[in-house]
């Protein structure tokens, strides 16, 4: 996935001189996760550079460049560290078009790795998507595989509004289904690991059906797509797994059609539960599919605690917990 993201940036920098990439350790070093590796050498230090350690400053710079007419792609080294930039994202980036009557707009992309599974402890593991989806005027995108990662990042860069692009860091170097005892696998063997060299995009607002099924709809994104697929196999439940790909804009049609078909719904995310994005999904499904539901909507999520270092796998909502929810939802006919 790292190479796919790198390729998206490279392709866009090649096509459009207004695209630039910056953030902490992004320039010469190529990013702590190597996503911008080689871009400074190829496109020059003016287009791919290191920034001071100020997340608010990084996003403010992107906003200023964006209103000038550039298409900056800013990196926040870990999603856990995006909060110092929160005011700039919420009160500024998200509202500039609206409050200026369309006079100014902010075509920026803010990339940031999120999620656990790497023993990063409280401050390198969080999934803060819900603090962005709650904000009107921001788009939030989360890929689950290399093909989508490249296509969605290109679509985000081309988008004329601010996009929070969250990268599931546990998937950077291979798929991960939550079975942490298993040998690591690489994207090489995965069908979505094949990434075309050149330009293509995956439009924002279109979910993917990662697995077709008849009995229960699983709604998920990022790392949890792989966990949910594993749970579908392990449970023997014929689950339809929907990979949202973008949370805002949300592909409500795909969700609605699937839940009306299956009559059951399990929502899975790694973020903690209370006021998580699952709460919104649950409300939407209830509002639109109530009379089709055969059992209560289930949520499988991280616990309502910080992400604790030593209890990584007790916190991470793995396939066993998803399996339990799938079986529970099947108990009602």
């Amino acid at each position: 996935m790292v190479q796919a993201l790198n390729s998206a940036l490279d392709v866009m920098m090649e096509r459009d001189p207004d695209v630039l990439a910056f953030g902490q350790d992004v320039g010469y070093f190529g990013g702590v996760f190597r996503v911008t590796d080689g871009l400074q050498a190829k496109h020059g230090a003016k287009r791919c550079f290191d920034t001071p350690i100020s997340e608010a400053g990084i996003v403010s710079t992107a906003i200023g460049m964006g209103v000038y007419g550039l298409r900056p792609v800013a990196e926040i080294q870990f999603a856990d560290y995006i909060l110092p930039a929160y005011d700039q994202l919420v009160s500024e980036a998200a509202r500039i078009r609206y409050r200026s009557g369309g006079d100014f707009w902010v075509p920026i992309t803010v990339r940031t790795p999120y999620g656990g599974g790497i023993f990063g402890g409280q401050t390198h593991s969080q999934s803060p998507e819900a603090v962005f989806t709650h904000v009107t005027g921001l788009k939030t995108v989360i890929p689950s595989n290399p093909y989508d990662a490249k296509g969605l990042l290109i679509a985000s860069i081309e988008d004329d509004d601010p996009v929070i692009f969250m990268e599931p860091k546990r998937l950077y170097n291979g798929p991960f289904d939550g079975n942490h005892g298993k040998a690591l696998s690489s994207w090489g063997q995965h069908p979505a690991g094949e990434v075309p060299d050149g330009y293509y995009n995956v439009p924002l607002g279109k979910a993917a059906v990662a697995r077709e099924g008849a009995d229960v709809t699983v709604i998920c994104y990022g790392t949890m797509v792989h966990v949910s697929l594993a749970a579908a196999e392990e449970s023997g439940v014929d689950a339809e797994v929907i990979d949202l790909r973008s949370l805002v804009p949300l592909d409500i049609d795909t969700i609605e059609a699937s839940v009306k078909k299956t009559g059951r719904c399990v929502i899975v995310h790694e973020a903690s539960r209370f006021s998580g994005f699952g709460a919104e999904l649950s409300a939407l499904v209830q509002e639109r599919c109530f009379f089709h539901l055969k059992s209560p909507i289930e949520r499988v999520t991280g616990w309502d605690t910080p992400y604790p270092h030593a209890f990584e796998w007790d916190y991470f909502p793995g396939p066993a917990r998803v399996t339990k929810a799938l079986l529970r939802t099947m108990e009602n006919n």
């Binding site: 350690i53 409280q122 401050t123 030593a310 209890f311």
Partner: protein
């Protein structure tokens, strides 16, 4: 993009040497030891501005303490400092080895910066509070924080004093005057100002000290801390350790190309000292001066400790990718342990043999205490009870935590 004729161009700072090039520290101006005047603590900040652009040094090249900043420290005090610095280094090396052996998930060394925490610990009194960075380990060493607790946390064993909730190196030790660390850089720097204001509000005599890295001075909290500290004359010492690097970014990316970090203080109307951070005596004297000012109700002081991050940023880092492999050996201010050793030897209070002997003794201690922690069982072999995940979030947990705990069966 080619600049248009007469058009502007964007400046992107770059360090003088990258891998494969010759290290170059010629931009670091080093005045002779003993040359910098030591003003009275109640001097007006405007009359001391030069201190922010110079470099306070006490130890000369021969290891003699010279000039107005040379305090009379007893040899026992100096030996104690040397021991704490050496203990820190031996400890750090043991932890890196443990990481290679897969016993710990992550670690950060403070190699080359050990003088700073030790001097801070000696200057602060019981009841004062240090708001440290993750490179302030030597502070805990000087205060004799239990080594076993440190190892137990870093190895996340069943006896981890932070119950498995925090990463290695991110200690919390209130009883030792050491504020809780967090992975986000900078976020506690301003807390020191609030804490110091509380001490002043209550009419107490406690002072605070805060640590931040050169790179992190870009974060908001650094600037808000200086603003509030100057507005309320908070009894706090605001320390920047300029170790030249912030992961892969040289200090020019943090604004060090055009001025010093100490000079940030000048803009806020605060007295600011720039100090040779590898000279234990200079670090001690400057910190002592700032502490005296704070205790005399004269307010805050900014101190830049000029040092060098002699190793990689952390176990996750490979510095040979972005700086010359031999850059550390070109660093002009030397190594703090070697320099203090040289001084004590010059005084006739230390020798190579005693040094070797102490090193062996500390190595034995560390080996033995590490063995004890490892016997408890590093992460993967043992860990605190999983129920600890739900503890200490609130003073009293609400129904969500109780239900979720039950669901997990812990």
């Amino acid at each position: 993009m080619a600049a248009k004729d007469g058009g502007l161009s964007l400046h992107i700072p770059a360090p003088k040497a990258r891998p494969g090039e010759t290290p170059d520290f010629s931009h670091i101006v080093i005045p002779p030891a003993g040359e910098t005047p030591r003003p009275a603590i109640d001097t007006a900040p405007a009359e001391m501005r030069d201190l922010a652009y110079g470099l306070i040094r006490v130890l000369d090249d021969e290891g003699t303490a010279v000039g107005p900043w040379a305090l009379k420290l007893e040899p026992d005090v100096l030996r104690r400092a040397l021991r704490a610095m050496m203990l820190t280094r031996v400890f750090d090396n043991r932890m890196f080895a443990a990481h290679r052996q897969g016993k710990v998930t992550f670690f950060i060394k403070s190699t080359g910066e050990e003088a700073i925490g030790v001097a801070q610990s000696m200057v602060l009194r019981k009841g004062d509070m240090n708001f440290p960075s993750y490179r302030t380990t030597s502070f805990l060493m000087e205060r004799e924080y239990p080594l076993l607790d440190m190892f137990n946390q870093n190895l996340a064993t069943a006896d981890d004093p932070l119950q498995g909730r925090q990463l290695p190196i991110l200690y919390s030790a209130k009883a030792y005057g050491f504020y809780t660390l967090s992975g986000n850089v900078g976020s506690r720097f301003h807390h020191a100002v609030g804490w110091a204001m509380a001490s002043a509000y209550r009419g107490d005599t406690k002072i605070a000290l805060a640590c931040i890295g050169d790179g992190t001075t870009a974060e908001n909290e650094f600037h808000t801390a200086l603003t509030f500290a100057t507005v309320y004359r908070a009894p706090v010492i605001l320390t920047v350790t300029n170790n030249q690097w912030a992961i892969s970014s040289f200090q020019g990316i943090a604004g060090g190309e055009s001025t010093t970090f100490a000079a940030r203080g000048v803009g806020y109307g605060l007295p600011a000292l720039r100090v040779d951070g590898n000279d234990f005596l200079a670090v001690y004297a400057a910190t002592q001066w700032a502490a005296e000012r704070a205790r005399a109700n004269l307010g805050a002081t900014v101190i830049e400790m000029v040092s060098y991050r002699a190793e990689g940023h952390s176990t996750s880092d490979d510095p040979t990718r972005y700086r010359p492999i031999d850059e550390a050996t070109h660093w002009p201010l030397g190594d703090p342990i070697e320099r203090l050793k040289g001084h004590l030897t010059k005084l006739g209070e230390w020798s190579d043999e005693r040094h070797e002997q102490l090193y062996a003794e500390l190595t034995d201690t560390i080996t033995e205490v590490y063995r004890q922690a490892d016997a408890v069982g590093a992460l993967g072999v043992s860990k605190p009870p999983v129920g600890e995940m739900f503890e200490n979030l609130f003073a009293t947990p609400d129904w969500r935590l109780l239900e979720q705990r039950k669901e997990l069966g812990v």
